[in-house]
Symmetry: D2
Subunit: 345 residues, 4 copies
């Protein structure tokens, strides 16, 4: 399988390279980056010195088609929506790490992203690539909308309980904390070290573009009318997301029962790890890896369940899940090319 | 006013020294620290070199009484409950930074702290020192139970809305993020740099000892039956608390109305700063200072209000509020001795 | 004394505000910031909410003259060199935090800064404001070239030994580590959180513009021909400089003798603190304060002395020393308006 | 190859597990940890959940011999010196990550480590495992003294120049900055987050136990009488070492010549990467990997060379080099089992 990356110079793109360099059955064809065309890759990313000494290329439809079976988009929102269809029409497979193909309703995209949506035809064909929940569709897909980082941590945590009808679908509150790499590599006041270090803050309260993505998937996949509150936070760390989730239980239920429900779903899935009773997963415990670690606490005082879900936002929340989806599309074991052990400490 | 500190060698104790060194009307008598008796202060805290070259003393009731008008306890929970009464009986004023006198019900203390409670007589007499809300009682008090760090950020944010009946008292969710200094100065696996840096995690989900403190104060002061969910998080920063608070609104209400309610309460209070619409306060913006900055967001989609409240956990959440309370007890302007401008960046 | 700040929106400028707000004998007239003219100060710096609710002004020579006795420049290099002379000609006093008036030789400036130097007349009149070493000249000065951050930590550490002839003037190596705030507030790839956090690197090896500044001052003030190696490092912290200095001793000498030499010079200076034998000062131990803490180690194996010198780069390395110099110019105690106790932890 | 680890619960031990889990030709037999015997591995290291669900064992000579071909020691200094000989006598191979077998002279060990040295017989037989420089001896070795973290970064940087006689052997100054993981996993005041975060300090100035190790190896391998100054620094980051090295050049030499000398030595070595002229390697650029990245700067002003050398202290500075040495002993490609791409950002 020959793959190309469009949008190589962001943090998602460079993580793809890390996994592809380690992949026995995929080979990097060409690395595209319009803004830095002609530069050596190791000028932009010195950590890749001696690993892949190539120049970044400008987008070229014919070259991409000639050289690639599959294309990853690591571009910001608003790019793949217009660029991917030409590749799809020529029969290439596409895995898009941006949000351009995640929402089915073009008007939702326009509202939350403030940009023009992609063609409805491709929005309809795109498969939402939450690997653990959509494996059969992913196997058949030509176009994967790779899930957002916050939705990945949240959906993996909520789906088992919503499916069981165990929580009220309009009582859900997701308080999520992300490392700064989620904001991308482009410099800004908000990502300046001195404005972020030793400090935490919320952002986009009530208006983050991952809200409709989470509500759409939870709604469609569980048949319930889900309305949730979501607050993202910029945390002084490079990688990692912790979603702390609160929901009202619909019934008296023990930790053991909940645990059994989760194990039913995830027992055989290599990248979801269920923690023992009383656990508090740290984001560092999945650092650099594709795991999603989940712990749940039943609070009898309030009748709520609190779920803690951690991922590495650049791996399971972006490039790692993209490789996992590529593996599923190729009929390979889903762990292929992905690291087995998180980097700790 | 001559003051002594018992429990000098924790982070709360040493912050008291910072403010007292700058205070025109209070003078440090003696610094007590049983565990490190006889050591020079600047051995324990080299940043105090040349500022106060004294030795730490062992607890001595007679000496304390002879030298002090007021005593601060910066000790861990379980110490002042048994030690403070002897000082109180001799007529000294006491401001306790620990949780030993905060809960009125001794059984609650036993349940949540797992230790023996203080004498009921003194639990009854203790004034809960949330400066902005209890000024008249503080003026008269002999014993101040200085509020916990999480409760300070939470109560200042919630009281105006609960008082107005604007939120459902059993719908409140407090998701709080604290710097590591909240865990104290004693080394432990949990506070080891490598286990905390570049990582975030929740702890004590549903069972933190500040839960009954918040419910008690909200309940008593608003006459409502408050039941809340609270999750603290260990955040890779030294100082700061951000409480992200969610509550169901009882009515349709605009941001402007809510803002007016907050201004009614805090307009003239020097240490509560209300942020403009759309703000997301950072903990760094109150670093080293006694401010509590509050922003609120009305989410029409979900019918909830989200409140963001930030403090420096060691200042407004501990030593700073203690000095503010001392000032109130002495009839001084409450800002006396406290820094005017946060340290930014 | 009425003072204005030109270049308010950098980290040096905003630290000046912190100290001036606390100063009993200086009053802020107007805050200038060409690039952000018309913005409210607390939009640019939310931590100043409710403290100084003013708008930033565009540079206006007549207004500055009418309102101010003294002007601070917090601008990047290349600005004050051309703007300050007009203010000086009108009789105002100027303290320049940038490097524009530090080098006597205009060609040196052109070589190391790559910009046009200021008028030689003013280069000659400028007093290099290392407070502890130039107090008499500072008292008389109209124009102060406030020392650079690295030179401040380095010169305070080296001058006592060089004056005594105790070290070889061409053997000096200065390995300095700075917090990221030294790079200024403007966003860049180099100051992006993810590129800096959890990582350290050198920069500008052998070609930093503080090299000629250090060599000039050491040479002129000790009459020796000093040639030094200097390597700055970007350290994952917001504030602080640690200079680790190595020099060959010219003679056998004990720690006690060296200590006596330092105490001769600094015994009565409030902002230089000499550490006991065996100390390793941390930058956090001077955080937010104007102290320079110095420790020295005699290495008999190699015949070298190693000196450790720490400052807060934004305080003693910039705005704090500027206020100290203003105090000296005004005939006030040099501590006026400056915090007494560092913020620890 | 069946391998066991003695001292599993430190950061070195757990990194060995990361690489062994990924190694096609080595299999973990048993994990030993006297202090935590009987605990589940994933209690001690939750990031290993579902990866290796085993219990930690107490040291047992017979079991180790029965099950293992090779044993890694990840214990603190003073343990392997007494425990390893029994294993060696039974014919097992040993790779010791501690300093117990690095110094040939038992008295040096006693002086710098303050503990009893290992038996002289085994000190003589131990091969110093700097992989790039001792490959033939490593292939034959039964006992490897795996190099210290600081020596690894320093020796790889200095050996090519010293071998060429290009630098004065008594002019070398090594100023090294390490992440906190170098201090081990045991909690202490010095590694408490709040004492380390946002701060840098030197430690053990002139008396770190890696000094005799570096001088011994440089001396023995180049036949010169090397005397160096070395200052380690505790840097607020989890992993990484940057050694900034200064030495007087013995001759006029260009960057290109120096570069050619380094390329002669390292051209074909997979884990040493030579950076282009003007580079400043960041520790983050080798994070989680076994690379050592080296850049050199000729300073004509001072006649010195400055060398920048970065490694991940837990990988090339400990467990990674240990695996590399195991590979060499087994006749495998030295990269086997080690990650190809650093984790960036």
């Amino acid at each position: 399988m020959k793959v190309s990356i469009i949008g190589t110079t962001g943090y998602g793109g460079v993580e793809l390279i890390r996994f592809l360099e380690n992949h026995p059955h995929a080979e990097i064809a060409t690395l595209y980056a319009n803004s830095q065309e002609g530069k050596w890759l190791n000028e932009v990313f010195p950590h890749l010195t001696d690993i892949r000494d190539v120049k970044l290329a400008a987008f070229d439809l014919d070259r991409i088609e000639a050289e690639s079976d599959l294309v990853f988009f690591g571009t910001p929102s608003g790019v793949s929506g217009s660029m991917a269809p030409a590749l799809l029409e020529r029969g290439l497979k596409v895995i898009d790490l941006s949000g351009d193909f995640r929402l089915h309703d073009p008007e939702q995209y326009r509202t939350w992203y403030g940009k023009d949506p992609a063609d409805k035809k491709w929005l309809d064909q795109a498969v939402y690539g939450l690997s653990e929940w959509a494996q059969p569709s992913i196997q058949q897909a030509q176009l994967i909308a790779n899930p957002g980082c916050y939705p990945t941590a949240t959906l993996l945590a909520l789906l088992p309980l919503l499916k069981k009808g165990a929580i009220h679908p309009r009582s859900i509150i997701v308080d999520a904390k992300s490392g700064v790499s989620g904001a991308g590599r482009a410099p800004s006041q908000a990502t300046h070290f001195c404005e972020t270090n030793d400090s935490i803050s919320a952002y986009k309260v009530g208006r983050h573009q991952h809200i409709p993505e989470m509500e759409q998937v939870l709604g469609e996949w569980t048949g319930q009318d889900v309305l949730l509150s979501f607050t993202p936070h910029l945390t002084p760390m490079t990688r990692g997301i912790l979603a702390t989730i609160y929901a009202d239980l619909t019934q008296d239920v023990t930790w053991e029962t909940i645990d059994a429900w989760y194990r039913e779903v995830y027992e055989d899935r290599p990248f979801v790890r269920l923690r023992p009773q009383g656990s508090h997963p740290k984001t560092k415990e999945v650092y650099g890896s594709n795991y999603c670690d989940i712990a749940y606490h039943v609070d009898e005082r309030t009748g709520r369940v609190m779920i803690l879900s951690v991922i590495d936002n650049l791996v399971k929340g972006a490039a790692g899940q993209a490789i996992q989806n590529m593996n599923i599309m190729m009929g390979l074991p889903e762990e292929t090319g992905l690291p087995k052990v998180p980097v700790f400490p």
